[in-house]
């Protein structure tokens, strides 16, 4: 597949497409927690690093196959999501944001001092198993399952928690359980993305998963539109490509990046595809016809 694609685009673009795919998985995971369920989580890179380190150690030290290592990383991250979710999801809004920032930092500092993870140097020498094909097949599967979930009774319950927790409870939704569920799935997906990342770069270090990475993922979700699957995909696209495009302005790159975010939020406060439904588009179209 890669060989075939390389006939049309050069390796640089192929590389960006792979990173976009990984970022889509990250954004969709966080979208489930923050966009759909409304629980502001700011430590998503922490779950990503758990998946990355677990998967890398499983292939490097234990010589396990890539598939099993990926799954191992995702399950480990999901487990941490579950364990952290139980006590913290009783908190709301700002408090939850604080706790998840703290969690992200704890994980980062843990890996800085983790012997088996190479401390500050990180881990290197992973075989680059991750390909364009693996990433995008996974993206497609995740998008389909995610869409299925959001249309089901469980997905509606998650949206209901975001909209009004007390009313959701009055409809028979076990809100604590559903929040922990969203958190666990989101962490699982972050872990999966981490494993893919580790085996694409061949090198990981704690600084790859710092607070700014969590913010970047959150930006993708907010920019794309909270709770929208196409929104998260678009957000991941734009925010992966933007820094690359802005290379032309060199050291002003981050300034432009910041300005872009500010402008978009002023004109589309709900995100690019937030609260955009096919139904509304159809209605607008019909009105124009008349």
């Amino acid at each position: 597949m890669e060989g075939f694609l390389l006939q049309f685009i050069d390796a640089y673009y192929l590389r960006i497409l792979v990173i976009i795919g990984i970022n889509i998985i990250l954004a969709l995971g966080l979208n489930l927690i923050t966009g759909v369920t409304g629980q502001l989580s700011m430590g998503h890179a922490g779950f990503m690093s758990i998946g990355a380190y677990t998967a890398a150690i499983l292939t490097l030290q234990f010589g396990l196959s890539f598939g099993i290592a990926l799954l191992g990383g995702a399950v480990m991250a999901g487990l941490f999501g579950f364990l952290i979710g139980i006590p913290t999801l009783r908190l709301e809004g700002d408090y939850l944001a604080m706790v998840t920032i703290g969690f992200g930092e704890i994980i980062r500092v843990f890996f800085l001092n983790f012997e088996l993870g190479g401390k500050a140097t990180g881990l290197y020498g992973m075989t680059k198993y991750t390909t364009f094909t693996t990433v995008w097949i996974l993206v497609i599967i995740i998008v389909l399952l995610n869409a299925k979930l959001l249309k089901s009774r469980h997905g509606r319950a998650l949206y209901a928690i975001r909209e009004n927790e007390i009313a959701a409870e009055a409809a028979g939704v076990n809100t604590t359980l559903m929040k922990v569920l969203a958190f666990t799935i989101g962490a699982f997906l972050a872990g999966l993305a981490g494993g893919l990342y580790a085996h694409y770069m061949g090198y990981i270090a704690p600084k790859d998963f710092a607070f700014m990475k969590s913010i970047e993922i959150l930006n993708m979700v907010v920019l794309g539109g909270m709770g929208s699957i196409p929104g998260s995909i678009l957000g991941a696209f734009i925010l992966t490509i933007a820094p690359e495009m802005l290379r032309i302005v060199d050291e002003y790159r981050l300034l432009f990046y910041g300005a872009l975010l500010v402008i978009l939020m002023i004109f589309r406060p709900n995100g690019l595809l937030g609260n955009v439904r096919i139904y509304d588009l159809k209605k607008r179209f019909r009105k124009k016809e008349v």
């Binding site: 399952l145 299925k148 979930l149 089901s152 009774r153 469980h154 509606r156 319950a157 949206y159 209901a160 909209e163 009004n164 007390i166 009313a167 959701a168 409870e169 009055a170 409809a171 028979g172 939704v173 076990n174 809100t175 569920l181 609260n275 139904y279």
Partner: protein, 254 residues
């Protein structure tokens, strides 16, 4: 049979005694009204019955089952539906989805059967959609089913809350000031709706309301709260002529 029984319910918030050993029995098939001045503890009582608060003292029973410490979502699943005084719709969900969420407590298809689209999940989803549409038909909102709930007019939002509560197929329905903010023709329609759903769904209804006309017209029994205490109980005629009620709530004609 008493659908709902409250025994000496006391609720304290810090030093404030919002409810002071209130006892009530609501018989099946009745429309039971709770009235009283602002701050009398009416909504607190609703929040205790629906499990949002656990009372400081006293016990409550739903169909002879003790639910004093039962969590809110479990009480809902037992068949206690409610609406809210300050409307609590899922604003950025469609009108139809609001009602569909309402049926969460009585549906059972598992997470994985939904994810994989197994027949059981599909059947249940279809049933939920059909039933939700019927309920929207009943409250007259079927035309706006695709609109966001927060874009509805105020009276429509109140009726959507009722439809959502009915989706739970409750045997006891709690209405917290359903007529608040409605004009007199809307109130008449609401009275018809409440009487209609009571017959159609075989409901027992507990109702908090300030509109005396509505309360006196549709309630079989009324309890009057004042400063957290039950000061009177009886049928509308008895309550209307009760001196304590006139003093504390209805007011004296001079």
């Amino acid at each position: 049979m008493a659908v709902l029984k409250l025994e000496g319910i006391t609720q304290e918030f810090g030093g404030l005694r919002a409810l002071d050993s209130v006892s009530l029995e609501v018989e099946a098939g009745n429309i039971f009204g709770i009235i009283g001045p602002n701050g009398a503890g009416k909504t607190t009582l609703f929040n205790i019955i629906t499990g949002i608060y656990t009372p400081t003292e006293g016990n409550l029973f739903f169909k002879d089952e003790m639910i004093t410490n039962t969590s809110a979502y479990n009480i809902a699943r037992l068949g206690v539906g409610r609406t809210f005084q300050n409307i609590r719709l899922f604003g950025k969900l469609s009108v139809l989805d609001n009602v569909k969420v309402g049926s969460y407590g009585i549906t059972s298809s598992s997470f994985f059967s939904n994810l994989l689209g197994l027949p059981k999940a599909k059947r249940e989803e279809k049933l939920v959609t059909e039933k939700s549409l019927e309920l929207l038909e009943l409250v007259g909102l079927v035309e706006v089913r695709h609109e966001y709930a927060d874009s509805l007019a105020y009276g429509d939002q109140r009726r959507l809350e009722i439809a959502r509560a009915l989706a739970l197929e409750p045997s006891l329905l709690l209405l917290d000031e359903p007529a608040a903010g409605m004009n007199s023709s809307e109130k008449l329609e609401l009275m018809e709706l409440i009487n209609g759903i009571k017959e159609q769904f075989d409901l027992t209804i507990l109702l908090v309301e300030h509109d005396m006309n509505l309360v006196m017209n549709i309630c079989d029994l009324i309890a009057v709260l004042d400063y957290g205490k039950k000061i009177a109980e009886g049928n509308p005629v008895e309550v209307k002529s009760d001196e304590k009620v006139i003093m504390s709530y209805l007011g004296v004609e001079i």
